[in-house]
Structures are given as C-alpha cells and as structure tokens.
C-alpha cells in the first residue's frame, strides 16, 4: 500500500502539486489523469523521489520513502516512461538486466529472470535477447521497457504516459498485456496519462488532477455518476457518459440467470459491446457464454440500459 500524505511541490512561487493525499491499495491499478501541466507527472516522480517533495511524505507499506538513499529506493520500484528510454547501446537482455545487476544478483539468476520475462512478454529469447532496441518495433520496445522495470520483482510499478507513443492498435494490445501482467505478478501499478479512455480501460481507481490539485479520487464509475467537479465531467465527457458507464461492466457481471434465445456474446465483453451487437442484429436479448461455449446466463436490452443510468 502506498500512502501519499499532503504531498506538495513548489518551484519558487509556483505550486506544481498542492497538498495531494491518496491511499493507493496494494495489487491494483491506479490511474492519475490530467491535462498537461496538471502536476500528475510531478506527483508520480515524487513517489520514487526523482523529484523531492517540498512538503508532505510518501510511505510504502508503512516505511517512509526518505528512510533510505533515493537510488536504493528506486531499485525497489519499477519505472516506465513514455518513449521507453531503453539504452540504445545495450542489448534487450542487458537492458532488462539493468536493475538486477545494480542489485548484484548472480549471473545465473539474472539469466533465468531475463529469459522468464522475455517469454512473459512474448519476445522469443533466442531471437530477441541479443537484439538492440533499434531493431525492435515500437510495441516491442515498450514491452522491453516494462520488462526492464519488472526485472527485479518490484512490488510497485510507476508508469509515466507509457503508451503515449504507440499507435491505437498496438496501444490496445499493450493495455490487455498490462492487465494480464498485473494479474500475474500482483504488482501495485500507478499510471499517469492524459487519456481518459486509457484510464477507464485500465483503472481500478482514477485520480483526476488539475492545476496541481486532486479533484477526485474514485473508481471509474463514480467519476461518471458522482463527478466531484465540473472539470471531472468535462474530462470524462458528458455526451457519451452512459456508454462509458456501460463499458465498465462485463457481460458476466450483469448476466441474469436462465437461458434465452438470441446471439451468444462472450462473458468478458463489456455491456457497451453487447448492446452494440444487439442493435446490429436487431435482437432483444443475448446468451452470455464462457470461452468454451457454456451458457452463463442471459442479457436483455432493458437490463443493459438499466446499467447505463446513474444509481
């Protein structure tokens, strides 16, 4: 658990981050959203002390981040930035091995960890371990960047606009991978972005920042149903908020018991996708099925629409 307590950063007379407090639960994805200049990156960089706070403090699992030298703290926290920041003069394997080497792991331990991560990130070791970053695609470079950040098995991963440089298709794939990785390693992830869609796709809870202040810190649905500030509504978008709300619930979560006629939809599909499918087919209800095709219940248009209204 990360406890951010009244964190403030001032440069001269300008306050970049203004008394931000937040409790970041373990084993979850927290997304900090804001326009450029909102102080979201500075907030993130104060967690691993790339920026030293003017006031306030951060504790990770109860221990103050200032209780050890900054570089030692950073070796325990994964860090991913936009444009990956891979070392161009080192191979993929050497890049991934950076922090384990700093920590003085044995060569065999480093070797097996690098191989494990390459496999997790679907980069065939024989082909990619000794490749240089410039030989990889943008998506692959980003995956190596994340693998490098996870190499020393950190419990916390900080990500600063990690997918900003990717095209939409590669980005969507990267989002699915990140969710898988989070589930697999149980890492506590704090991610900064200006993209509200990205926040809704990834976040367990979203923090909205503007001009250094944190306006709201809630699960994504609450941003839509109970916006704390007009700015939050502007960020989430008023016109399609009902659709956004539908996209936050999966078919499995909303499924009604019993079977019904109609097209079958995947349990993992969002209500937004199910509704779209029903509109397209001109059907009133759908059967929710597992990956192997077993029915798990059904959904009606009416039931779906109920989920699109604030409760």
């Amino acid at each position: 658990m990360i406890n951010v307590e009244s964190l403030t950063k001032e440069y001269g007379t300008t306050t970049v981050v203004d008394r931000v407090s937040m409790l970041i639960p373990r084993n979850s994805i927290t997304v900090v959203v804001g326009s450029s200049g909102s102080g979201k990156s500075t907030l993130l960089r104060m967690v691993n002390r790339l920026v030293e706070p003017t006031r306030g403090r951060v504790t990770i699992d109860g221990s103050d981040t200032r209780s050890e030298p900054a570089h030692l703290l950073r070796r325990r926290i994964g860090y991913v930035i936009q444009g990956h920041g891979l070392f161009p003069h080192r191979t993929v394997a050497e890049n991934i091995a950076t922090v384990p080497r700093l920590l003085g792991w044995t060569a065999t331990r480093i070797g097996s960890r690098v191989e494990e991560l390459l496999e997790v990130f679907q980069l065939e070791p024989a082909r990619y371990a000794h490749a240089f970053p410039h030989q990889l695609s943008g998506g692959q470079q980003q995956r190596v960047g994340i693998a490098r950040a996870l190499a020393a098995e950190p419990s916390v991963l900080l990500m600063d606009e990690p997918f900003g440089a990717l095209d939409p298709i590669t980005r969507a794939k990267a989002h699915r991978e990140l969710l898988d990785i989070q589930r697999r390693f149980g890492t506590t992830i704090v991610l900064v972005t200006h993209d509200m869609d990205e926040a809704f796709r990834l976040a367990d809870q979203v923090a909205v920042m503007s001009e250094g202040r944190m306006l709201q810190y809630d699960p994504p649905a609450a941003l839509l149903t109970r916006p704390a500030d007009p700015f939050v509504s502007r960020m989430t978008g008023m016109a399609d908020r009902a659709m956004r709300l539908l996209s936050l619930t999966t078919a499995a979560e909303a499924a009604l018991p019993g079977g019904s006629s109609g097209p079958s939809v995947a349990a993992t599909a969002s209500l937004r996708d199910v509704l779209s499918e029903l509109l397209w087919r001109g059907a009133d209800s759908a059967v929710v099925t597992d990956e192997d095709g077993t029915p798990r219940g059904h959904l009606t248009v009416e039931a779906i629409l109920a989920h699109g209204r604030p409760r």
């Binding site: 703290l73 950073r74 860090y79 930035i81 920041g85 891979l86 070392f87 161009p88 950076t98 700093l102």
Partner: protein, 402 residues
Amino acid sequence: MKRGIGHPAATLAGDIPVPRGHRVDRLGALLAVVGIAAFVFLPLVVFKSNRLVPGDPRGWLEALPRWAALGSAATLALVAIVALRASSAALRLGAALLGLVIVALAVAAAANALTPPGNRIVRVAPGSGFWVLLVALGLLMTDAVTRLRPGPGLRVLFLALLIALVGFALSRGVFDNLSVMREYAVNADRFAREFRQHLWLALGSLAAAVVVGLPIGIVCHRSARLRAAMLGTLNVIETIPSLALFGILMAPLGALAAAVPLAAALGIQGIGTAPAIIALFLYALLPIVANTAAGLRRVSPAIVEAARGMGMTSWQVLVSVELVLALPVILTGIRIVLVQNIGLATIAALIGGGGLGTFVFQGIGQTAIDLVLLGAIPTVALAFTAAVVLDAIVEITERARR
C-alpha cells in the same frame, strides 16, 4: 530513355541510364586535363648543382631514359582514360594507385639518372609537374575510395598497406637520390629525435586537454551559465594567432621559472617544450570541452531519466550511460584536436620546442626548400594518418550506438 517524374532520387543519384561509352566523369575529366597539362608542360624534377642554388627544370623526356618516359606516358594515358570514363570505382582506385606508383618511380628514376655516380653535392628535387600529378592522382584516389564507401576497418587496412608500401620503398633506398632523402641522410639521427618530440608535443598536449577538458565539458553540460562563459573564453583563446600565443606565454613562464626553482627544475621555462605544450593544450581545450558538452546534450533525456529512475547513482548514469553514448562526439573532438595539434606543433620550433618544425624553419632560413620538405612531408603524413585512424574509430563507436 524515359525519365520517371515521380522518382527524383533517380536523377539525384546520377544513375540515369545513358548509353555506355558516352558517359564522361566530370571530376575525372578535370583531373585528366590537369594531369596531362602537368605531364606535358611542367618539369618532372628540378636539377640543382648544389642544395642552395635555384634549379634547372627538367621535363619527363629530358630527365628519364626514352623508354621509361614513353612507358610511363603510355601508362598515365591509360590512367587518364579510366578517369575520364565513368568506370567502376574499384577500377578507378586501381588506376589511381598505378598512376601514383608510376609517378613516384619516375621521380626516383629521374633522380638516379641525373645524379652522377658518387656525387653527393648535386640535388634532384621533385618538380612542379610531379606535385601537380601527385595531387591530381591523390584526388582521383580519394574520390574512388569515397565512392566505394569502405567500412572503417577496410579504410585503416588500406592506409596500413599504403604506409607499408611507402616504408618498403624507403627502406630499399628507392628514393635515396632524391633531394629530400639526401637531407634526411645528413640529418638522420636528428630526424628521429625531432619526430619523437613532435609526437610528444601533439599527444602530450592532447592528453592534458582530455584530462582537463572532459570534466569541464561535463560541468558545462550541467550548467548553462558556466557553458556560455567557458566556451566564450575558449573561443577567444582559439582566435589568438599561434605565434602570438607562444609569445604571450614566454613572459609569465619565464618569470615563473625565475621565481620558483622547482618549476625551473621541472623544465618550465619561457622557451622550450613547456610553453609549446601549454599553448597547444590551450588550443585543444575548446574542441574537447565543446564536443563533450555537445555529446552529452545529444543523449536523449528519456534515457537519462530512465537510468535515474531505475536507481543508478549519478556517477553510474554519467559513466555507464551519458559518457558512453556521447563517446562518438567526444572522439570527434579528439580527432579535431589531434590533427590540429600535429599541424600546430610545427610552430613550436620557433620558441625552441623542437619537433619537425625545426627542419621547416631551418630550411626557410637557409632557403633550402628540400629541408623544408623534410619537416613538412612527415607532418602532413602524420596528420593524414591520425585523421583516417580516428575517423574509423569514431565510425565504429557510432555504429554501436544507434
């Protein structure tokens, strides 16, 4: 032949298809005309009855036996034809090398033919025709090498072969009757000493400039204010004429030697090696500092940020990321300094610093142009070698850091 409007690259690359046999290489044509003119109108060698009198020019036919003159004329005509036609770069390189060998052998043969046996007084110096042909063929060779685009390793190998070839010819005494080698024979042991001194001046000042300039460059990268002040100062130093800088240093160093006996004991004096090395060091500082700062600035901030974010200490970031990535630019600075210092070290002779400049200025004093060449030719060869080798190193380090 239809020219594709949509493919401007095709017209730029110069590979517009034109029927074979009508293609004339423009640079080759110019060099061929210059070379033929030099062959016909300019003297191959200058014959002097002793080392100081003005010489008597001799053309190819007067200086060489008839068969040798006609043979070399025919070979050089062949080289000219290859240069004229847009033939392959490898063929052009071969032709240029053949031409250089022929011209070198011709001037050596002329010296042998014109020198009466056992006579050590007469001098046969290379004439203007020789020098013009040498430059024309040298340009032809450089152009061919540029077009072949060889890798750094191959370039150094080529240079080594060239040095080995010249070294072999010199060791076999091929050029012994030529005026420059006559001067060498008289000054052989002094030559070795001054050559070593020249290297010491150039490399010693370079080493000092790297040791001092690298940290200054790093600090300049960190502080914009200091960068402006430092580079401004070094720019001013760079504009001081070399002779003036040597002169400026004489007074304070002389005073230092007089006031501090230890300094004098260490060899620091108003004249000699100390002011020469200090002046060369000052000239070397700007390229080293400027290139170190520029090289560090070129390193992507994202990479430095990532390195810091992963828990490298400032020292680790500097040494294993920033400096490693800046290395090609820093090495380019070292290359500039080394070539510049090898040339400037010649001036050191004027303040008693020694080096190959000793022969140059002695030669000027005695109006003995052969002695000037004894100092100048090795200086040029050294600078050229340094440039080729360091260019290769820069390219190799650049390749590893895309």
